[in-house]
Symmetry: C2
Subunit: 110 residues, 2 copies
DNA sequence: TCAATATGAGTGATTTAATATCCATAAGAC
DNA sequence: GTCTTATGGATATTAAATCACTCATATTGA
């Protein structure tokens, strides 16, 4: 936080989209900001920041609010989430536990 | 934050999945935790919390890290993000700007 | 096996998100 | 048009995330 953080276009757009999806979900369900914030255990102000796509909110709170109005990040239901988590666990055990290189720059893209 | 917050299963699993996707993406690209945290402008500790799927991190930072290792949140590229944002804007103008009800409980599910 | 370094983890300081409360304005219901 | 209330915004306070730094352990490559 110290310094003003800057965010990529993708991040900003994703945040904006998520906030709008939440707001639309709330309105479609006929929930006031107070209704939803109450259910999520947060204040109206925090909800407004989330709906406005601000970058500083806690990710756990945002995901919780999203879930409350039916917005899914990966478009996966509970079962599928579980499955993907398990698959990722397996994949991670196969990958090296620590990355070993240095000296020469990473052979990144360019 | 004040009080210990509790999160739904969906939130926990989504956070866990996102963290694992980020870690896998980092390892596959041969980036050390220091490499990635440096590029993201955060400390290794913060990155570890993100990869561990902890709920308290700032959503903007998490999304930024995800973007750096090629993890896309809604599985949308830049152009699609833009399009969806525009569509959502239109949708929001059609929805009521404020929800009007009270007195009787919301006709929610039950 | 051994040396180099990546990772995991702890501490204290700093910054800021979230809260609680209040007020002005906007917007819906009659 | 009027009334009611939902929303947007401001404030001071508090709790926690992040940082910077350090050390122990795990892991990799030679």
């Amino acid at each position: 936080m110290r310094v003003t953080r800057s965010y990529s276009r993708a991040t900003k757009q994703t945040l904006a989209l998520l906030g709008k999806l939440i707001k639309a979900g709330r309105l479609e369900r006929g929930l006031t900001a107070e209704d939803l914030s109450e259910r999520a255990g947060i204040t109206r102000k925090t909800l407004r920041k989330i709906e406005n796509g601000e970058a500083g909110s806690e990710i756990g709170i945002v995901f919780e609010v999203a879930a409350l109005v039916g917005v899914r990040l990966f478009d996966l239901d509970d079962r599928s989430l579980q499955m993907h988590n398990t698959r990722l666990d397996e994949k991670l055990t196969l990958l090296p536990k620590s990355v070993r290189h240095r000296k020469q720059e990473v052979d990144d893209d360019f």
